[in-house]
């Protein structure tokens, strides 16, 4: 029991109350002004560990998203080139089909041969398409290959005509991966080999060889051979289409992952916010309560401290 209340006690106590109130006010004010409940780890050690984890996770998700956007862009570009390749092949197939009947004359076939040669050149150009400075169908050999084969598909000329295609000797089948999740990767490139010559140069699946042959068959007016080309083209068209479908399926999958990541991001952002963000409404309410308490402390202090017997003697 404290039976004597002395002046230092009164003063110290009042000072203490005022200090406590001010420091509480300052804390709330800081939380409102900064919008954050956690300034240093000791404000909430568990919360701050969680917040650091969530911040890392959010950055990761953002990066995965970036990788996905980039990969989707790359694949969409690939798909549009593949579609154009399909169109060229369709056009050539039509030419071959029309020439496979006996009705077309040899002169007409010569003209068609010229057309096929032009389309072949166009196709070669497409096969060497660059996106962002990188060969789309070069596998991981995205930059210039070794001389004298600077591109994935290089023309071998015989006199003035295209006699064949030499692929980059360093290979055109490497796989490019994009990271789209923790330990999750998706390859974003279609190898030139799979599109244009899955069976290798000169095989029945080699589109370039077929076109060169077709051109020469038309020139030579060799109808039975032309018919063979039509059936080859049929299969090759399938081969390109199936690659394009694969690209489409991958883009779909990547978009799906993107949606999942967006949802996850939202959830984690909310979680992070619930840990570290100030609930402004609650904080302002607290601020008001605290302010009243502070004023009360000031008022009572000024009243009590002024009272003294000395005023009456």
């Amino acid at each position: 029991m404290l039976d004597r209340i002395t002046n230092p006690m009164l003063i110290n106590r009042n000072l203490l109350y005022i200090n406590e109130n001010t420091s509480k006010l300052q804390k709330i004010q800081e939380q409102i002004a900064s919008g954050k409940m956690i300034r240093v780890a000791s404000d909430d050690p568990i919360g701050s560990t969680k917040s650091m984890y969530l911040q890392s996770e959010l950055k990761k998700i953002t990066q995965y998203n970036k990788n996905l956007v980039d990969g989707i862009g790359y694949m969409e570009q690939t798909s549009s080139i593949l579609t154009q390749v399909e169109n060229i092949l369709l056009e050539i197939k039509e030419i071959a089909e029309s020439a496979s009947t006996e009705i077309t004359t040899s002169a007409e076939k010569k003209a068609l041969s010229f057309q096929v040669n032009q389309l072949l050149e166009e196709l070669i150009q497409f096969s060497n398409t660059k996106f962002g400075g990188k060969f789309i169908f070069g596998g991981t050999e995205t930059l210039s290959g070794a001389k004298p084969n600077p591109a994935p598909f290089n023309i071998r000329m015989s006199g003035n005509v295209i006699a064949g295609i030499i692929t980059n000797p360093a290979g055109i089948d490497g796989v490019m991966q994009r990271i789209v999740g923790d330990g999750k990767t998706i390859s974003v490139n279609i190898s030139g080999e799979d599109v244009f010559l899955p069976g290798g140069t000169g095989s029945a699946s080699d589109i370039f060889t077929t076109l060169i042959k077709l051109r020469d068959n038309l020139n030579a007016n060799d109808t039975p051979e032309i018919r063979l080309r039509v059936s080859e083209l049929d299969k090759q068209l399938n081969q390109v289409t199936s690659q394009n479908t694969l690209v489409g399926a991958k883009v779909n999958r990547m978009q799906l992952i993107q949606n999942q990541l967006d949802e996850l991001k939202l959830v984690q952002k909310e979680h992070l916010s619930s840990i570290e963000d100030t609930d402004i409404a609650e904080a302002i309410l607290k601020l008001n309560t605290q302010e009243i308490a502070f004023q009360a402390a000031l008022q009572t202090s000024s009243k009590i401290l002024r009272q003294s017997l000395l005023d009456y003697i």
Binding site: T140, A146, M176
Partner: protein, 562 residues
Amino acid sequence: MSSIFAIFDIGVRAMYAQQIALQVTGQNISNANNENYVRQRAELKEATPFNSVPGQLGSGVTINQIIRIKDDFTDYQIQKENQNFGYLQEKSNILQQLENIFNEPSENGINSVISGFYDSLHDLANYPENFSSRVMVREQGLTLCDSFNHTIDKIKELKSNLNESIAYKVSEINSITADIADLNNQIARAEVGGIQNANDLRNQRDALVRALSQMGDIFVQEGNDNLLYVQLGDTILVSGVHQIQLKTQTDSQNNLRIVSGDSNKTVKISNGSLKALFDTRDDVLNKYIDDLDTLARSIITELNKVHIGGIGLTMYQSATAENGAVASTVPLANAGYDFPVNGGSFTISLYDSNRTLKSETEITINPFAESLTDIAAKINAISGLNATISSDNKLSISVSNPTDQFSFLGDSTGAKDTSNFLMAAGLNTFFKGKDASSITLADCIINDVNKIATAKSTAPGDNANIIDMIATRDKAFVNDAKPEEYFSSMIGDLGVERQVTVKRGETQQLILRSLEERFQAQSGVSFDEEAINLIKYQRGYQAAARFIQVMDGLINSLIQLM
């Protein structure tokens, strides 16, 4: 029957006593706001009576003594609790500074920098051929290293500040103990004969002891000679009127320790702010330095391990080891590398300018038998490659034909370094250094970003190796934790440690406050009380004066008789 003049004396004594009591009241009032002041009271006592007929006759009042009103036990408790409080307060201050150094959670602490570094690796994985994404990786890598270096520097700076604080506290203690010894001397002289209490001097001495008790585990005892003996831990600071100074000595690790100026014995301190300074300097800060070193070293090891197994956008025409051995002829196991060399092998693949493989050679290493010179000889034996050792014992490998190039990856076998020699010597590494203060990027990467090993083949679009580097982020390679996990739990630990210290400090403050309140309740000055005393003694004085006046009247009547 006593003389009429003797009755006068009663009045005079009464007036004198009231006057003294008023003076004490005045002293109390004037010191009301002096925090260390202990209120005094003039103890009145009946003056020695006369033996007479019909009995003893009183001879008035006298001041027995002026006493301080205080409870020694409360004082003792305050001293004890002050020690705990001093410890917790100092520790919490230091931990706060440490928290500010780490600056977590924030957008620019080490945690974000680690994120930023891995993000840049992702961008490089997306575009391994791009110069700009390579430069970005270099810059983010440098930022990561800088953050480690900077944080460690700051912690070490804090550590040296603590040494300065210790030195400062020692000089403070010395000045306090000098004052105590001096006061001891004055008190001894004032209290000769033991009648008077040197109240004000004692107040000052108590205040000094209280200030001292925040700094360490102080023991005080007042001897029969009224002198205060002061001890810090097991070391005597004040013995009677003699002060024994404390000194600081610098040990081999540049840390200060406190020794007695007398015996040169180290002072053992087990509480108070000095204990907090020693604890944080020797344990807490070292723990965080060690933790950061572990993190940095794990990052260096793990990422280098992956990086060494890759090929950059351009291969090497010459490569110089980042780290030198102590000597070129000692076995590699004793060559003084920061990372150990094991038995195993690494492979060098030699290519022409068109990236066509010319040769692929496996170089086996026996670290206990072979020296750097032996390794150089083995490389020299490969046609088209030269190896030299510089004066600082760094291995250099270069091609003989200026258009040739080489890598450290088996072209056909995919064989990587199993001997750890490349990591130890610093060939085809990404980071250099061994801990948080020395971590930096390899010179080779700083000079040529195309040497960042993105691929596992010679193809420029191959990003397989950088994907493996990114995968380390989710591997528990730092003491069974992922790097970011490890760091954030370290920050969590610091947060808990500070929070606990602050909470305990607050509790301690409450205890101390209630003790101080008890002290003030007993020893503090109450204006109201003093006002009452003022009236009381004023009235006493007035009455005594009135008494003398009456006596004067009596004497007057007596004189008129004559």
